[in-house]
Subunit: 532 residues, 2 copies
């Protein structure tokens, strides 16, 4: 267990100092610099990590399910062992409150344990078998078997807003390791100490599980430069990223420009529209106040720094909508700002809000108060009309933080039109009563085209980590709508199929051997046969 | 049924002439021009097809399984109805012999029927359900369901070498239509009449099935220009392509440069290495002659114009290898060239063979005789050493047609080294006796990294269309190793997941409704539950 932070990268289990300058964690609430300094790697120091990952692939990709699952569980234990060191460091580096950090640590270790259960169960291996038919005419039918293999070493870039659950041991790392892919993780420079504590937990789990040390490396480096170099490294076979649209599209371009292009799974930008129908607002004043309160909790929680924060809320014109907007205006006034993750994120939020406030036809619904610490701006809610929204692309831009825009519309057809105009989103939410179903029904297929997840009568923040979740969606929500970065389906991002034709049993890997030593579900002649 | 060919594009069921010049089919065996002329569309005429596809998506993507499957079967029937018109036209446009054309038509219609069975069965819909747990603490667990939806309109580019099975109603079209995606097919200018006959079969099936006519369009245009325009069209959501590496990478670049990037499934280039181990060549002279004959059948069948044609064969030095190479040299001398698909493909083959023959350390093993028709060059087999192969990248290039290179190696370690140096391949083949298993075993994981399919004791040509097949592999064999272009797994290329959270039953699409009206397999709380 890392009692003392070293301030270095961890390459294949070893502490490696860098020579490309340093970065220091900063407490966004106070401006205090947090020791130690972290030394940054030169890009040519990366090859040590990627080569070790390449070497580790040979054994790691063929690990038996039990050893593999136990390794993921051991990472979870090692993170829990470090809780007393981790919690204050995360709080200091991010300004997030203790309850949130504790919750996020729980989510992170649960996620690792969920993937351990997926590895034990084995359906992700996608075994198919069309047995031979020797007497088929005119030619015998060969024996063909299929399984999925891990792609190879994966480069992962974590998010600033989830320093645990979307960072060093977050969903991308967990799903890549579960798939059997070694991971080279680029530490986020906004939480270097948090990264080292979690990175040391993984490295310790690798060592104690008897795995090749190249299974995991944590590298610190100058953001853009090292990111491009890592994605361009020939040993890297896929990329996981959570962050800004500009960051994600830069990695997509680098991956496409390689001699051998590789997939990029970037989760980037979303404004998460919410659509209120009349019936949903027809309750008494208490129920409307409750809706307004739930909306603001979703807008302002974690200082609004959540990928699924509802940035756009469509509310009907007329009395019911007016009541809701008034309730929001009253309630937001009582909300104090919380510290944002970094001074620069706070600056971007301020400029975004100023720009929005300056747009024609946009008015303030209400504003809270500044927090007492630094970088804790007052939450803000604005309002505009459906016509303004249609004609002004600025109103479609994400403002990362505690701000939201209410759009007043006249008829359900306005909603279909507005939805068709939206870019790709992680989520879309309907607020409907039974009396609204007929009006809401035509919106559903439009939203399916625009989002990864559709919710009813709730709020999009608070993403469940389960088997059915999709945290994904069309560009620019993500770079690849065919998958998810949360939930067990995420493991499929890092796998590809290989077929074996008429191969002797002795040369077949375990998952496709006739005697099914790993008890896997198999699709035989097209029909699923569950494991015994 | 199209008694008379019109020489025009078919856009959403209507004949649409183009104004960008014409193209005419040519019989490669005789040079004869085949009537009618086909008029080519201007790129701005494409919007009609893509807009119709976009409109068709709304209903086609939600079709019930039975109507959907019956539509695919109706296409198969409509193609069979046209057999008498189709066979002579394919033969005239491609130089392929009747038996091959008949076989390929059978494969094409069987493929459509196989996808109909997949649509009826429904596992590709990927239904997952994590039911609500209202009393979970601290927060209730929501109900989350997942299904896959079709991506949207797909642009498909067919291959010249399979004018039926990889063309208008080929595997990409069949899998896209099976997924619920409308298709805009760019006709291959080398077989325009074949394309129209098959296109009219699909259009007729669309009309008789009562579907939106935009479900299918067939467009003729100036190759590169219209291809780029089609892939760049905002209504297109994915691309299927089979053809050259330069063609495929150009489409990949166009797709990546879009405002909203889209997936490209391009199957491009492969030399399909074959590895003979000592034991496999230790039989008597008859068995060695049989192996040599089977090799040459695979090299020269369809004039060698198959994606999985074995272009590289590793044979041990020493007596057993010498016997095999002699047998190949003798047998190839008796093989006559067959007409190639086009004069330009024949020219490329000639230059490729000349270039190979000129390389240092490359010697001729044997050569057949020219065919009697035009463009029917004599098959050729060359030989070189493992050292030469390692050091000369020219020897790694694909020569599309009836040529192959034997590489003589000294030890199994040479094979691992050579395999590690290879680019991505569709296939790799082992020839092994039981005595070779120990020596061959270390090669298997290396080949898994390089190919989509590994075979033993057979030849890679003749790809089965089934559930377990992978016709794919790492770049440049394909642009996306995570899938296959042959076999039922291909349907997954055109789907993406969407989650529904706490949605009222009345707003849920059929596949995720609680009462499971389509009897789908569902993954409930992570466990597969087979349909009733």
């Amino acid at each position: 267990m890392a009692e003392t932070l070293t301030g270095t990268s961890i390459i294949a289990g070893k502490s490696v100092p860098g020579t490309a300058g340093t970065v220091t964690g900063v407490n966004p609430a106070t401006g205090e610099q947090l020791q130690p300094e972290y030394s940054l790697l030169e890009t040519d120091q990366l090859a040590e990590a990627t080569a070790a990952a390449r070497q580790a692939y040979e054994s790691f990709s063929r690990l038996d399910p039990e050893t593999h699952a136990a390794f993921l569980e051991r990472i979870a234990e090692k993170i829990e062992d470090r809780a007393d060191q981790l919690t204050p460091r995360v709080m200091a580096e991010t300004g997030l409150p203790e309850a949130r950090v504790t919750m996020e640590r729980g989510r992170t270790v649960n996620q690792l344990r969920l993937f351990a259960s997926v590895v034990r169960q084995g359906d992700h291996r996608g075994v198919r078998w069309d047995p031979a038919v020797p007497d088929r005419t005119p030619l015998p039918r060969p024996d063909v078997r299929q399984r999925r293999i891990p792609l190879g070493p994966v480069a992962v870039f974590g998010a600033s807003n989830f320093p645990l659950a979307f960072s060093v041991a977050g969903g991308d790392t967990a799903s890549a390791l579960a798939a059997g892919c070694p991971v080279v993780f680029k530490a986020h420079n906004a939480h270097p100490g948090t990264s080292e504590i979690v990175g040391s937990a993984i490295a310790e789990a690798v060592a104690e599980s008897g795995l090749h040390p190249g299974v995991f490396s944590l590298v610190y480096g100058p953001g853009t430069v090292i990111g491009q170099a890592l994605v361009s490294d020939p040993a890297i076979t896929a990329v996981g990223f959570t962050g800004s649209r500009s960051g994600g599209t830069a990695l997509m371009a680098a991956a496409a420009a390689r001699e051998v292009p590789i997939p990029v799974y970037a989760e980037m930008s979303s404004i998460n529209p919410v659509f209120f129908f009349d019936g949903a607002l027809s309750g008494d004043d208490d129920s409307v106040a409750e809706l307004a309160g739930a909306y603001l909790t979703s807008v302002t929680g974690s200082s609004g720094q959540l990928c699924t924060q509802p940035g756009l809320v469509f509310v009907p014109t007329g009395e019911a909508g007016d009541r809701f907007v008034s309730a929001v205006g009253e309630a937001v006034a009582g909300i104090q700002g919380q510290t944002m993750l970094t001074a620069s994120i706070c600056q971007s939020w301020n400029s975004g809000v100023e720009k929005l406030a300056d747009q024609a036809g946009v008015e303030l619904v209400g504003r809270g108060s500044d927090g007492e610490s630094r970088n804790a701006p007052a939450p803000a809610v604005f309002q505009t009309s459906a016509e303004q929204f249609r004609s002004n692309p600025v109103l479609h831009e994400e403002i990362f933080g505690a701000a939201s825009l209410v759009i007043r519309y006249d008829s359900p057809e306005d909603l279909v039109q507005a939805a068709e105009q939206l870019e790709g989103q992680l989520t879309a939410t309907l607020h409907v009563a039974e009396s609204d179903y007929a009006a809401a029904s035509p919106l559903v297929p439009v939203l399916e085209q625009k989002t990864g997840r559709i919710l009813a009568n709730g709020w999009p923040t608070g993403v469940e980590v389960n088997h059915a979740m999709v945290h994904g969606g069309p560009f620019p929500a993500t770079s690849d709508s065919r998958t998810t970065s949360v939930g067990t389906l995420a493991i499929e991002r890092f796998l590809r199929p290989v077929a074996y034709q008429n191969m002797p049993e002795q040369l077949l890997p375990a998952p496709v051997r006739s005697d099914n030593p790993w008890n896997l579900t198999r699709r035989i002649d097209g029909e699923l046969q569950l494991d015994s």
